[in-house]
């Protein structure tokens, strides 16, 4: 079962919500901040890139992200996937190593850090799904 985003704007809005869920979650947020792994996500079908890193002093939340490559930090992990895979991943339906083997996700950079982030980000699956059920039910897979 696949779910399509209506537009680039909708996709961006949903991923912004997912990032906010991770950043503000009392369990995940501090762990992601401490892990301090700058990540670059490329969503090739949407022609979008988001760069995320641990929030610096004075910045709100635990994560900071920008929808551009024009950032003043170097990503450590680079992941490329489609919007469909991203949506599926955030719902816990995409196993990262399996998706890499199936070419659904392309990984680059310090990929070992990506492996370390898997358990930290697992709690987002339930939160993301609840958010979709309430605001974007057509995206539930």
């Amino acid at each position: 079962m696949t779910a399509q985003f209506e537009s680039t704007e909708q996709f961006r809005a949903v991923i912004d919500r997912a990032m906010t869920l991770m950043s503000e979650d009392p369990d995940m947020g501090p762990k992601l901040r401490d892990a301090d792994v700058p990540q670059r996500y490329e969503f090739d079908d949407m022609d979008l890139v988001v760069n995320a890193r641990a929030a610096r002093q004075g910045e709100q939340g635990n994560l900071y992200w920008e929808w551009t490559d024009d950032v003043d930090w170097e990503p450590k992990v680079k992941l490329t996937m489609s919007s469909e895979v991203a949506n599926s991943y955030f719902q816990g339906k995409e196993n990262v190593p399996v998706a890499i083997a199936r070419r659904r996700i392309k990984a680059g950079g310090d990929v070992k850090s990506a492996l370390a982030l898997i358990p930290i980000t697992k709690p987002v699956y339930g939160l993301y799904r609840s958010m979709l059920e309430s605001d974007y039910p057509q995206l539930v897979v």
Binding site: N95, V96, P97, V98, A99, I100, A101, R102, R103, A107, D110, V111, K112, A114, L115, A116, I118, P119, K122
Partner: protein, 407 residues
Amino acid sequence: MDDNDELAANEQNPSGDTLPAAEAAERAGVSLSTLRRWVALGLFPKHDTSKGWGPSAIAQARSLVKLRERGYSIEQLQEAIDEGRIVGYADELVAEMVGERFTLKEAAKASGLKAEVIEELIAAIGLPAGALEDLGAEDVEMFRHFETAVESGFPRDALLQTVRVYGQAVSKIADAEVRLVHLHVHEPLLRDGVSSERIAEQMDGITEELLPLFSPVIDHLHRRFLNHFVEQDIVGHMESESGGEIGQVRVAIAFADLAGYTQLTEEVGDEEAAGIVERFVANVNQSLPDEARILKTIGDEVMIVSADSASLTDWAVGFQVLSNERPLPRIGIHCGNVVFRDGDYFGREVNLAARVAARAAAGEVLVTWPVVEMAGKHLEFERIGEVQLKGFSHATELFLAGLAGEK
């Protein structure tokens, strides 16, 4: 304690949660006079035994008996108690000690299970043979459950196999729990030179809060895993090929370990190397697809089983892509019919999978032909050739798995 004292003890504890000294001595396996001497020597500082013997005091007496049997002198025991090294805790866990006791014969009569079956059962669980002469009401209840299961038609041998798994798994859990308290509570307190009274207080406080949480967690996890395996069983029924013998299941088996681990231990020391293994096992565990699970770990090696050979192979290739730092994992996968017994998988195919993994180099995924046959087209398999694996009379065709177009 004379007869009057015992009477007084019983009167002060009408609920029956303490025992008179003579009975406590019997439960602990020591003479009454010895027990009295130990009290006089101050070996029970935490317990007011003048009002009767509670479960934790009896448990402490049993521990002292064991230590005496191992050759420790009374002076050494006194010193250890003064320093807080011998601290009993978790009274509720030993509460049954003051309840009704049964001999093997009595338990057989009360449960309806033959004495020899109880003996088999206790052996299967893995309890020491001495347990047979000191059975409690909850043991008898467990024997009744076993009898009910046998009467409902389950083969006795199959039930004993399951009970053996219970014993192994639960003893491992209990061992881990006690080590948790020992390493993270008791040892730090001892290292900080905290007084024995404070240690006893802290241990009691922490364990009173912590231990009651364990059973519900285990209960919950048991149900979660039951659900998981029921689902797996259903999938297995749908996807299994006919022709396998009864008692055999078709699974994919992977063995993964860290190449050069022995050398790494030499370089960085045991502690750091153990940490690396812990992270490796955690990474495997956290990243496996739903239908696969770690069956066991042996040092730095993990054995993984899955009903789905294709997704296990995908996982292995993806896992290697994500593992780009030394020590690199090496993975071997084979697929075939295996015997499932005592919660484990046995047979030629399991041995073959282990041998395949042993032939893999750092960063490689080596597989056999049945795995290649089941794999998806997004993977590429480079034929290594027919390899004579240790212990096998015929050569095995091996393949190196990788992402298509990257070789």
